[in-house]
Protein backbone atom coordinates (compact mmCIF):
# COMPACT_ATOMS: atom_id res chain seq x y z
CA UNK A 1 0.00 0.00 0.00
CA UNK A 2 1.10 3.54 -0.65
CA UNK A 3 0.54 6.08 2.07
CA UNK A 4 -1.51 8.97 0.80
CA UNK A 5 0.75 12.01 0.51
CA UNK A 6 3.85 9.89 0.58
CA UNK A 7 6.61 10.44 -1.95
CA UNK A 8 5.59 7.34 -3.81
CA UNK A 9 1.94 8.31 -3.95
CA UNK A 10 2.88 11.54 -5.64
CA UNK A 11 5.43 9.90 -7.92
CA UNK A 12 3.37 6.98 -9.19
CA UNK A 13 0.87 8.88 -11.36
CA UNK A 14 3.79 10.45 -13.23
CA UNK A 15 5.51 7.10 -13.70
CA UNK A 16 2.31 5.35 -14.75
CA UNK A 17 1.45 8.03 -17.25
CA UNK A 18 4.84 7.59 -18.88
CA UNK A 19 4.58 3.81 -18.72
CA UNK A 20 1.16 3.74 -20.29
CA UNK A 21 2.28 5.93 -23.15
CA UNK A 22 4.80 3.15 -23.86
CA UNK A 23 2.14 0.46 -23.55
CA UNK A 24 3.27 -0.73 -20.12
CA UNK A 25 0.53 -1.15 -17.52
CA UNK A 26 2.39 -2.40 -14.48
CA UNK A 27 5.50 -1.04 -12.83
CA UNK A 28 6.94 -2.51 -9.68
CA UNK A 29 9.28 -0.73 -7.31
CA UNK A 30 12.48 -2.22 -8.65
CA UNK A 31 11.75 -2.26 -12.37
CA UNK A 32 14.35 -0.36 -14.32
CA UNK A 33 12.59 2.69 -15.71
CA UNK A 34 15.30 3.40 -18.25
CA UNK A 35 15.87 -0.11 -19.56
CA UNK A 36 12.12 -0.54 -20.05
CA UNK A 37 11.96 2.77 -21.90
CA UNK A 38 9.43 4.23 -19.46
CA UNK A 39 11.80 7.09 -18.88
CA UNK A 40 13.53 7.94 -22.13
CA UNK A 41 16.04 10.73 -22.66
CA UNK A 42 13.43 13.45 -22.79
CA UNK A 43 11.67 11.74 -19.90
CA UNK A 44 14.73 12.38 -17.75
CA UNK A 45 14.19 16.14 -18.12
CA UNK A 46 10.50 15.81 -17.45
CA UNK A 47 11.15 13.70 -14.39
CA UNK A 48 13.60 16.24 -13.03
CA UNK A 49 11.16 19.14 -13.55
CA UNK A 50 8.37 17.06 -12.07
CA UNK A 51 10.35 16.25 -8.94
CA UNK A 52 11.55 19.83 -8.55
CA UNK A 53 8.04 21.17 -8.77
CA UNK A 54 6.24 18.52 -6.77
CA UNK A 55 8.68 18.35 -3.89
CA UNK A 56 10.11 21.86 -4.08
CA UNK A 57 13.69 20.65 -4.28
CA UNK A 58 16.61 21.68 -6.52
CA UNK A 59 18.28 18.84 -8.38
CA UNK A 60 21.83 19.47 -9.55
CA UNK A 61 23.06 18.20 -12.92
CA UNK A 62 25.50 15.93 -11.12
CA UNK A 63 22.63 14.23 -9.27
CA UNK A 64 20.97 13.07 -12.47
CA UNK A 65 22.61 9.66 -12.35
CA UNK A 66 21.29 6.16 -12.83
CA UNK A 67 21.80 5.35 -9.16
CA UNK A 68 19.16 7.93 -8.31
CA UNK A 69 16.78 7.52 -11.21
CA UNK A 70 16.90 3.81 -11.94
CA UNK A 71 13.61 2.73 -10.38
CA UNK A 72 10.66 3.92 -8.32
CA UNK A 73 12.51 2.77 -5.22
CA UNK A 74 15.70 4.68 -5.94
CA UNK A 75 13.82 7.83 -6.87
CA UNK A 76 11.85 7.59 -3.67
CA UNK A 77 15.04 7.22 -1.66
CA UNK A 78 16.68 10.08 -3.50
CA UNK A 79 13.75 12.43 -2.94
CA UNK A 80 13.51 11.44 0.72
CA UNK A 81 17.19 12.30 1.15
CA UNK A 82 16.70 15.63 -0.61
CA UNK A 83 13.75 16.46 1.60
CA UNK A 84 15.65 15.51 4.70
CA UNK A 85 18.60 17.68 3.67
CA UNK A 86 16.22 20.53 3.02
CA UNK A 87 14.60 20.08 6.43
CA UNK A 88 17.97 20.12 8.14
CA UNK A 89 18.99 23.26 6.32
CA UNK A 90 15.76 24.95 7.33
CA UNK A 91 16.20 23.79 10.92
CA UNK A 92 19.75 25.05 11.28
CA UNK A 93 18.86 28.43 9.89
Amino acid sequence: MTEPGSIKAQLMPFVMENAQSKGINQVSDDDSLTASGIIDSLGVFRLVSFLEETFAVRIGDEEIVNDNFESVRTIEKFVAAKLAAKGEKAATR
Binding site: K22, T34, G37, D40, S41, L42, G43, V44, F45, R46, S49, D61, E62, I64, V65, N66, D67, F69
Partner: protein, 455 residues
Protein backbone atom coordinates in the same frame (compact mmCIF):
# COMPACT_ATOMS: atom_id res chain seq x y z
CA UNK B 1 56.04 57.38 -59.61
CA UNK B 2 53.21 59.46 -58.24
CA UNK B 3 50.41 57.55 -56.56
CA UNK B 4 47.14 58.01 -58.32
CA UNK B 5 43.80 57.68 -56.61
CA UNK B 6 42.65 54.05 -56.42
CA UNK B 7 39.98 52.99 -58.89
CA UNK B 8 37.42 52.39 -56.13
CA UNK B 9 37.17 53.01 -52.43
CA UNK B 10 36.07 49.44 -51.76
CA UNK B 11 36.39 46.28 -53.87
CA UNK B 12 34.08 43.40 -52.97
CA UNK B 13 34.82 39.84 -54.08
CA UNK B 14 31.61 37.86 -54.54
CA UNK B 15 28.01 38.89 -55.21
CA UNK B 16 26.18 36.55 -52.83
CA UNK B 17 24.18 37.87 -49.87
CA UNK B 18 27.31 39.02 -48.02
CA UNK B 19 28.81 40.86 -50.98
CA UNK B 20 25.64 42.49 -52.26
CA UNK B 21 24.45 43.61 -48.84
CA UNK B 22 27.90 45.09 -48.23
CA UNK B 23 27.77 46.87 -51.59
CA UNK B 24 24.27 48.13 -50.83
CA UNK B 25 25.24 49.50 -47.41
CA UNK B 26 28.33 51.23 -48.79
CA UNK B 27 26.78 52.59 -51.96
CA UNK B 28 23.77 53.82 -49.98
CA UNK B 29 26.25 55.80 -47.86
CA UNK B 30 27.70 57.29 -51.03
CA UNK B 31 30.82 55.16 -51.20
CA UNK B 32 32.30 54.23 -54.53
CA UNK B 33 32.47 50.43 -54.55
CA UNK B 34 32.61 47.53 -56.97
CA UNK B 35 31.46 43.92 -56.81
CA UNK B 36 33.29 41.17 -58.71
CA UNK B 37 31.08 38.12 -59.22
CA UNK B 38 32.48 35.06 -60.91
CA UNK B 39 29.11 33.79 -62.16
CA UNK B 40 26.54 35.38 -64.41
CA UNK B 41 23.51 35.92 -62.21
CA UNK B 42 21.09 34.34 -61.56
CA UNK B 43 22.85 31.17 -60.49
CA UNK B 44 21.47 28.45 -58.19
CA UNK B 45 22.79 28.32 -54.62
CA UNK B 46 22.21 26.31 -51.46
CA UNK B 47 20.93 28.06 -48.31
CA UNK B 48 17.31 28.85 -48.97
CA UNK B 49 15.68 29.40 -45.60
CA UNK B 50 16.28 32.61 -43.66
CA UNK B 51 15.99 33.53 -39.99
CA UNK B 52 14.29 36.71 -38.73
CA UNK B 53 17.47 38.61 -37.86
CA UNK B 54 17.87 39.14 -41.61
CA UNK B 55 14.83 41.43 -41.51
CA UNK B 56 16.83 44.21 -39.85
CA UNK B 57 19.20 44.30 -42.80
CA UNK B 58 16.38 44.30 -45.36
CA UNK B 59 14.76 47.15 -43.48
CA UNK B 60 17.92 49.24 -43.25
CA UNK B 61 18.50 48.72 -46.96
CA UNK B 62 14.85 49.53 -47.91
CA UNK B 63 14.67 46.05 -49.37
CA UNK B 64 11.57 44.72 -47.57
CA UNK B 65 9.08 45.93 -50.21
CA UNK B 66 11.03 43.99 -52.84
CA UNK B 67 10.99 40.85 -50.69
CA UNK B 68 7.20 41.17 -50.53
CA UNK B 69 6.80 41.88 -54.23
CA UNK B 70 8.85 38.80 -55.05
CA UNK B 71 6.25 36.70 -53.20
CA UNK B 72 8.80 34.51 -51.44
CA UNK B 73 7.02 32.10 -49.08
CA UNK B 74 6.64 33.61 -45.63
CA UNK B 75 8.34 31.56 -42.94
CA UNK B 76 6.47 31.75 -39.65
CA UNK B 77 8.36 29.09 -37.79
CA UNK B 78 10.35 25.91 -37.68
CA UNK B 79 9.54 22.31 -36.79
CA UNK B 80 11.63 19.28 -35.94
CA UNK B 81 10.15 15.83 -36.45
CA UNK B 82 11.17 12.28 -35.63
CA UNK B 83 9.55 9.01 -36.58
CA UNK B 84 7.25 7.20 -34.21
CA UNK B 85 9.28 4.07 -33.50
CA UNK B 86 11.07 5.28 -30.43
CA UNK B 87 13.77 2.72 -29.85
CA UNK B 88 15.65 3.38 -33.01
CA UNK B 89 16.09 7.00 -32.06
CA UNK B 90 17.06 6.37 -28.52
CA UNK B 91 19.75 4.06 -29.73
CA UNK B 92 21.12 5.85 -32.71
CA UNK B 93 20.45 9.51 -32.81
CA UNK B 94 22.24 10.61 -29.73
CA UNK B 95 19.15 10.80 -27.62
CA UNK B 96 16.24 11.92 -29.72
CA UNK B 97 13.04 10.67 -28.19
CA UNK B 98 10.08 9.46 -30.12
CA UNK B 99 8.06 12.45 -29.06
CA UNK B 100 10.77 14.86 -29.97
CA UNK B 101 8.45 16.73 -32.28
CA UNK B 102 8.91 20.37 -31.45
CA UNK B 103 7.99 23.51 -33.26
CA UNK B 104 8.32 27.21 -32.66
CA UNK B 105 6.59 30.23 -34.13
CA UNK B 106 8.62 33.39 -34.41
CA UNK B 107 5.68 35.48 -33.18
CA UNK B 108 6.09 33.96 -29.72
CA UNK B 109 8.92 36.39 -29.05
CA UNK B 110 9.05 40.08 -29.98
CA UNK B 111 12.33 41.01 -31.59
CA UNK B 112 13.60 44.53 -31.04
CA UNK B 113 13.81 46.32 -34.36
CA UNK B 114 11.91 43.64 -36.24
CA UNK B 115 8.27 44.48 -36.93
CA UNK B 116 7.16 41.35 -38.73
CA UNK B 117 6.63 37.94 -37.20
CA UNK B 118 7.90 35.97 -40.18
CA UNK B 119 10.92 35.73 -42.37
CA UNK B 120 11.29 34.15 -45.82
CA UNK B 121 12.30 31.09 -47.75
CA UNK B 122 13.97 32.06 -51.01
CA UNK B 123 14.94 30.78 -54.41
CA UNK B 124 18.57 31.84 -54.09
CA UNK B 125 18.98 32.40 -57.81
CA UNK B 126 16.27 35.02 -57.72
CA UNK B 127 17.06 36.43 -54.26
CA UNK B 128 20.78 36.91 -54.86
CA UNK B 129 20.14 38.58 -58.20
CA UNK B 130 17.57 40.93 -56.63
CA UNK B 131 19.92 41.94 -53.84
CA UNK B 132 22.76 42.53 -56.25
CA UNK B 133 20.51 44.67 -58.45
CA UNK B 134 19.42 46.54 -55.37
CA UNK B 135 23.05 47.35 -54.58
CA UNK B 136 23.56 48.45 -58.15
CA UNK B 137 20.48 50.66 -57.77
CA UNK B 138 22.29 52.50 -54.97
CA UNK B 139 25.22 53.09 -57.32
CA UNK B 140 27.49 50.10 -56.67
CA UNK B 141 29.35 48.95 -59.77
CA UNK B 142 28.86 45.25 -60.55
CA UNK B 143 31.16 43.14 -62.73
CA UNK B 144 29.57 39.78 -63.45
CA UNK B 145 31.43 36.84 -64.90
CA UNK B 146 34.69 38.08 -63.39
CA UNK B 147 36.55 35.55 -61.25
CA UNK B 148 39.07 37.11 -58.91
CA UNK B 149 42.38 35.24 -58.76
CA UNK B 150 44.00 36.99 -55.80
CA UNK B 151 44.63 40.25 -54.03
CA UNK B 152 47.93 42.07 -54.08
CA UNK B 153 48.59 43.76 -50.75
CA UNK B 154 52.18 44.80 -51.43
CA UNK B 155 51.56 48.45 -52.28
CA UNK B 156 51.19 50.39 -49.02
CA UNK B 157 48.75 52.83 -50.61
CA UNK B 158 46.09 50.46 -51.89
CA UNK B 159 45.18 46.85 -52.48
CA UNK B 160 44.85 45.46 -56.00
CA UNK B 161 42.17 42.94 -56.87
CA UNK B 162 43.45 40.67 -59.63
CA UNK B 163 41.38 38.86 -62.27
CA UNK B 164 41.63 37.87 -65.88
CA UNK B 165 39.34 38.77 -68.71
CA UNK B 166 39.88 36.41 -71.58
CA UNK B 167 43.64 36.00 -71.72
CA UNK B 168 44.30 39.41 -70.25
CA UNK B 169 45.45 39.78 -66.64
CA UNK B 170 43.81 42.81 -65.09
CA UNK B 171 43.69 44.44 -61.72
CA UNK B 172 41.58 47.04 -59.96
CA UNK B 173 42.88 49.10 -57.06
CA UNK B 174 40.91 50.03 -53.96
CA UNK B 175 41.49 51.22 -50.42
CA UNK B 176 39.73 48.28 -48.77
CA UNK B 177 39.01 44.79 -50.03
CA UNK B 178 36.01 42.84 -48.78
CA UNK B 179 36.19 39.10 -49.25
CA UNK B 180 32.65 37.83 -49.75
CA UNK B 181 33.61 34.87 -51.91
CA UNK B 182 31.67 32.36 -49.82
CA UNK B 183 33.11 28.92 -49.17
CA UNK B 184 35.78 29.59 -51.80
CA UNK B 185 37.39 31.71 -49.04
CA UNK B 186 39.61 33.46 -51.55
CA UNK B 187 41.52 35.77 -49.21
CA UNK B 188 41.50 33.32 -46.29
CA UNK B 189 43.22 30.78 -48.51
CA UNK B 190 45.68 33.24 -49.94
CA UNK B 191 46.72 34.49 -46.49
CA UNK B 192 46.57 30.97 -44.99
CA UNK B 193 44.07 31.94 -42.32
CA UNK B 194 41.74 29.02 -42.87
CA UNK B 195 41.43 26.31 -40.20
CA UNK B 196 39.40 23.23 -41.02
CA UNK B 197 36.89 22.48 -38.26
CA UNK B 198 38.10 19.54 -36.16
CA UNK B 199 34.62 18.52 -35.04
CA UNK B 200 32.15 18.92 -37.85
CA UNK B 201 32.61 16.95 -41.01
CA UNK B 202 29.21 17.05 -42.60
CA UNK B 203 28.14 16.59 -46.17
CA UNK B 204 24.90 17.40 -47.96
CA UNK B 205 23.01 16.34 -51.08
CA UNK B 206 19.94 18.26 -52.19
CA UNK B 207 17.44 18.92 -54.96
CA UNK B 208 14.00 20.44 -55.68
CA UNK B 209 10.63 18.72 -56.02
CA UNK B 210 7.52 20.12 -57.65
CA UNK B 211 4.11 18.98 -56.46
CA UNK B 212 5.19 17.41 -53.15
CA UNK B 213 2.54 17.97 -50.51
CA UNK B 214 4.64 19.42 -47.67
CA UNK B 215 1.85 19.03 -45.17
CA UNK B 216 2.28 15.26 -45.03
CA UNK B 217 4.85 15.78 -42.30
CA UNK B 218 3.08 18.55 -40.39
CA UNK B 219 1.29 18.06 -37.11
CA UNK B 220 -1.05 20.98 -37.69
CA UNK B 221 -1.64 20.81 -41.39
CA UNK B 222 -3.43 24.13 -41.80
CA UNK B 223 -0.79 26.33 -40.26
CA UNK B 224 2.55 24.64 -40.65
CA UNK B 225 2.85 23.99 -44.38
CA UNK B 226 5.30 26.85 -44.85
CA UNK B 227 7.50 26.17 -41.85
CA UNK B 228 10.96 24.85 -42.41
CA UNK B 229 10.98 21.19 -41.38
CA UNK B 230 13.96 19.35 -40.04
CA UNK B 231 13.26 15.64 -40.12
CA UNK B 232 15.52 13.49 -38.00
CA UNK B 233 16.66 10.22 -39.46
CA UNK B 234 17.60 7.15 -37.45
CA UNK B 235 21.21 7.51 -38.60
CA UNK B 236 23.79 9.32 -36.49
CA UNK B 237 23.93 13.07 -37.12
CA UNK B 238 21.73 12.76 -40.16
CA UNK B 239 18.73 14.89 -40.98
CA UNK B 240 16.66 16.18 -43.85
CA UNK B 241 15.61 19.74 -44.59
CA UNK B 242 12.29 20.57 -46.19
CA UNK B 243 12.14 24.17 -47.38
CA UNK B 244 9.29 25.73 -49.37
CA UNK B 245 10.52 27.54 -52.48
CA UNK B 246 7.19 28.40 -54.08
CA UNK B 247 3.60 27.26 -53.51
CA UNK B 248 4.42 23.99 -55.21
CA UNK B 249 8.22 23.68 -55.24
CA UNK B 250 10.08 22.32 -52.21
CA UNK B 251 13.79 21.99 -51.57
CA UNK B 252 14.82 18.71 -49.95
CA UNK B 253 18.32 18.02 -48.69
CA UNK B 254 20.01 15.28 -46.69
CA UNK B 255 22.82 16.28 -44.33
CA UNK B 256 24.99 13.49 -42.98
CA UNK B 257 28.48 12.69 -41.84
CA UNK B 258 30.93 12.71 -44.67
CA UNK B 259 32.04 9.16 -43.99
CA UNK B 260 28.53 7.98 -44.94
CA UNK B 261 28.95 9.33 -48.41
CA UNK B 262 30.40 7.17 -51.10
CA UNK B 263 32.62 8.61 -53.80
CA UNK B 264 30.49 7.90 -56.82
CA UNK B 265 27.63 10.12 -57.85
CA UNK B 266 25.25 7.20 -58.39
CA UNK B 267 25.78 5.80 -54.95
CA UNK B 268 25.34 9.21 -53.39
CA UNK B 269 21.96 9.53 -55.04
CA UNK B 270 21.12 6.08 -53.86
CA UNK B 271 22.11 7.12 -50.37
CA UNK B 272 19.80 10.14 -50.59
CA UNK B 273 16.86 7.85 -51.27
CA UNK B 274 17.89 5.35 -48.62
CA UNK B 275 17.92 8.15 -46.09
CA UNK B 276 14.54 9.41 -47.21
CA UNK B 277 13.13 5.90 -47.02
CA UNK B 278 13.89 5.78 -43.31
CA UNK B 279 10.99 8.24 -42.96
CA UNK B 280 8.30 6.42 -44.94
CA UNK B 281 5.72 9.25 -44.92
CA UNK B 282 8.30 11.56 -46.45
CA UNK B 283 9.36 8.97 -49.00
CA UNK B 284 5.80 8.30 -50.04
CA UNK B 285 5.08 12.02 -50.22
CA UNK B 286 8.03 12.66 -52.50
CA UNK B 287 7.25 9.67 -54.69
CA UNK B 288 3.50 10.31 -54.78
CA UNK B 289 1.76 10.90 -58.07
CA UNK B 290 2.03 14.56 -58.98
CA UNK B 291 5.37 15.02 -57.22
CA UNK B 292 8.50 15.11 -59.34
CA UNK B 293 12.15 15.97 -58.95
CA UNK B 294 12.87 19.04 -61.06
CA UNK B 295 16.59 19.67 -60.46
CA UNK B 296 19.63 17.46 -60.63
CA UNK B 297 21.12 16.44 -57.30
CA UNK B 298 23.83 18.73 -56.03
CA UNK B 299 26.23 18.01 -53.22
CA UNK B 300 28.19 20.16 -50.82
CA UNK B 301 31.15 19.01 -48.75
CA UNK B 302 34.01 20.15 -46.54
CA UNK B 303 32.13 23.12 -45.39
CA UNK B 304 33.08 23.58 -41.76
CA UNK B 305 36.00 25.86 -41.03
CA UNK B 306 37.03 28.98 -39.19
CA UNK B 307 39.53 31.74 -39.94
CA UNK B 308 42.44 32.79 -37.78
CA UNK B 309 41.34 36.37 -38.32
CA UNK B 310 38.33 38.09 -39.88
CA UNK B 311 40.16 41.26 -40.83
CA UNK B 312 43.66 42.36 -41.68
CA UNK B 313 45.28 45.48 -43.01
CA UNK B 314 43.02 46.74 -45.83
CA UNK B 315 40.85 43.60 -45.80
CA UNK B 316 37.66 42.36 -44.19
CA UNK B 317 36.10 38.89 -44.50
CA UNK B 318 32.30 38.64 -44.48
CA UNK B 319 29.77 35.81 -44.70
CA UNK B 320 30.95 32.30 -45.49
CA UNK B 321 34.32 33.75 -46.50
CA UNK B 322 34.88 34.26 -42.78
CA UNK B 323 33.47 31.11 -41.25
CA UNK B 324 31.06 28.27 -41.76
CA UNK B 325 29.83 25.70 -39.31
CA UNK B 326 26.75 23.68 -40.10
CA UNK B 327 23.43 24.60 -41.62
CA UNK B 328 21.18 23.01 -38.97
CA UNK B 329 19.60 26.29 -37.84
CA UNK B 330 19.47 27.96 -41.29
CA UNK B 331 21.69 30.80 -40.21
CA UNK B 332 24.20 31.26 -43.04
CA UNK B 333 22.46 33.97 -45.05
CA UNK B 334 21.47 35.86 -41.94
CA UNK B 335 25.05 35.81 -40.66
CA UNK B 336 26.26 36.97 -44.08
CA UNK B 337 23.82 39.89 -44.04
CA UNK B 338 24.62 40.81 -40.46
CA UNK B 339 28.34 40.73 -41.20
CA UNK B 340 27.71 43.56 -43.64
CA UNK B 341 25.46 45.34 -41.16
CA UNK B 342 28.33 45.48 -38.68
CA UNK B 343 31.35 45.64 -40.98
CA UNK B 344 30.24 48.48 -43.23
CA UNK B 345 30.41 50.85 -40.25
CA UNK B 346 34.05 50.04 -39.57
CA UNK B 347 34.84 50.33 -43.26
CA UNK B 348 33.24 53.76 -43.47
CA UNK B 349 35.14 54.70 -40.32
CA UNK B 350 38.41 53.58 -41.87
CA UNK B 351 37.75 55.52 -45.07
CA UNK B 352 37.07 58.62 -43.00
CA UNK B 353 40.15 58.28 -40.80
CA UNK B 354 42.48 56.93 -43.43
CA UNK B 355 43.58 54.21 -41.02
CA UNK B 356 43.24 50.85 -42.76
CA UNK B 357 45.09 48.67 -40.28
CA UNK B 358 43.42 45.59 -38.88
CA UNK B 359 42.54 47.47 -35.66
CA UNK B 360 40.22 49.72 -37.65
CA UNK B 361 37.89 46.74 -38.09
CA UNK B 362 37.96 45.68 -34.46
CA UNK B 363 34.34 46.34 -33.61
CA UNK B 364 33.24 44.19 -36.50
CA UNK B 365 35.65 41.40 -35.73
CA UNK B 366 34.71 41.12 -32.08
CA UNK B 367 30.96 41.39 -32.70
CA UNK B 368 30.92 38.68 -35.33
CA UNK B 369 33.23 36.43 -33.36
CA UNK B 370 30.90 36.68 -30.40
CA UNK B 371 27.89 35.88 -32.56
CA UNK B 372 29.43 32.99 -34.41
CA UNK B 373 30.89 31.52 -31.23
CA UNK B 374 27.37 31.48 -29.80
CA UNK B 375 26.12 29.78 -32.94
CA UNK B 376 28.93 27.31 -32.81
CA UNK B 377 28.21 26.35 -29.23
CA UNK B 378 24.49 26.11 -29.84
CA UNK B 379 25.05 23.84 -32.82
CA UNK B 380 27.52 21.77 -30.83
CA UNK B 381 25.00 21.24 -28.04
CA UNK B 382 22.48 20.23 -30.64
CA UNK B 383 24.66 17.52 -32.13
CA UNK B 384 26.24 16.41 -28.90
CA UNK B 385 23.12 16.02 -26.75
CA UNK B 386 20.19 16.48 -29.02
CA UNK B 387 17.55 15.86 -26.40
CA UNK B 388 18.69 19.00 -24.61
CA UNK B 389 17.50 21.11 -27.51
CA UNK B 390 14.11 19.42 -27.47
CA UNK B 391 13.83 19.60 -23.70
CA UNK B 392 14.73 23.29 -23.61
CA UNK B 393 12.31 24.21 -26.38
CA UNK B 394 9.56 22.41 -24.51
CA UNK B 395 10.48 23.94 -21.16
CA UNK B 396 8.61 27.22 -20.57
CA UNK B 397 11.54 28.51 -18.52
CA UNK B 398 13.86 28.36 -21.52
CA UNK B 399 11.68 28.38 -24.60
CA UNK B 400 11.87 32.08 -25.41
CA UNK B 401 15.60 32.21 -24.83
CA UNK B 402 16.09 29.36 -27.27
CA UNK B 403 13.75 31.10 -29.67
CA UNK B 404 15.92 34.19 -29.47
CA UNK B 405 18.83 32.11 -30.74
CA UNK B 406 16.66 30.59 -33.45
CA UNK B 407 15.63 34.08 -34.55
CA UNK B 408 19.30 34.83 -35.04
CA UNK B 409 19.77 37.33 -32.21
CA UNK B 410 23.15 36.13 -31.04
CA UNK B 411 25.34 39.20 -31.24
CA UNK B 412 24.54 41.16 -28.07
CA UNK B 413 25.61 38.78 -25.33
CA UNK B 414 29.03 37.37 -24.65
CA UNK B 415 27.11 34.19 -24.04
CA UNK B 416 23.33 34.00 -23.60
CA UNK B 417 22.44 32.49 -20.22
CA UNK B 418 20.47 29.67 -21.79
CA UNK B 419 23.52 28.59 -23.75
CA UNK B 420 25.73 28.66 -20.67
CA UNK B 421 23.16 26.45 -18.97
CA UNK B 422 23.05 23.99 -21.86
CA UNK B 423 26.80 23.88 -22.08
CA UNK B 424 27.25 23.13 -18.41
CA UNK B 425 24.77 20.26 -18.63
CA UNK B 426 26.61 18.79 -21.61
CA UNK B 427 29.92 19.09 -19.79
CA UNK B 428 28.49 17.34 -16.74
CA UNK B 429 26.99 14.55 -18.85
CA UNK B 430 30.27 14.14 -20.73
CA UNK B 431 32.44 13.76 -17.70
CA UNK B 432 30.12 11.51 -15.72
CA UNK B 433 29.60 8.07 -17.24
CA UNK B 434 26.88 7.37 -14.70
CA UNK B 435 24.81 10.35 -15.71
CA UNK B 436 21.39 9.23 -16.90
CA UNK B 437 21.96 10.98 -20.21
CA UNK B 438 25.52 9.79 -20.81
CA UNK B 439 24.37 7.06 -23.17
CA UNK B 440 22.58 9.64 -25.28
CA UNK B 441 25.63 11.64 -26.23
CA UNK B 442 26.04 11.98 -29.97
CA UNK B 443 29.34 11.00 -31.44
CA UNK B 444 31.07 14.29 -31.95
CA UNK B 445 34.49 14.39 -30.36
CA UNK B 446 34.80 13.30 -26.75
CA UNK B 447 34.81 16.85 -25.52
CA UNK B 448 32.39 18.86 -27.56
CA UNK B 449 33.59 22.33 -26.66
CA UNK B 450 37.26 21.79 -27.25
CA UNK B 451 36.92 23.45 -30.61
CA UNK B 452 39.88 25.10 -32.22
CA UNK B 453 38.86 28.57 -31.15
CA UNK B 454 40.58 30.74 -33.61
CA UNK B 455 40.90 33.54 -31.10
Amino acid sequence: MKHSEPDFEVGIIGGGPAGSSMAAYLAKAGINCVVFEREIMPRPHVGESLVPSSTRVFKELNFLPKMEEAKFPHKFGAAWTAASDAKVYDMDFGGVSADCHVDVRFEERDQPGVAQNYTYHVDRGKFDLMLLQHASGFGAKVYEGVGVTGVDFTDPNHAAVKYSIGKKEMSTTCRVVVDASGRKTLVGNQLKWRIQDPVFDQYAIHTWFDGYDRRVMAKRKETMGDFIFIHFLPITNTWVWQIPITDTVTSIGVVTQKKNFAKSKESREKYFWECIKSRPELYEGLKAQGSQQIRAFKDEGDYSYAMRQLAGDRVVLVGDAGRFVDPIFSTGVSIALNCSRFAHKDIIGALESGDFRREAFNTYESTIRRGTRNWYNFITVYYRLNVLFTAFVQDPRYRLDVLKLLQGDVYDDAEPAVLTRMRSIVTEVEKNPKHSLHGFLGDLTANAFAEAHSD
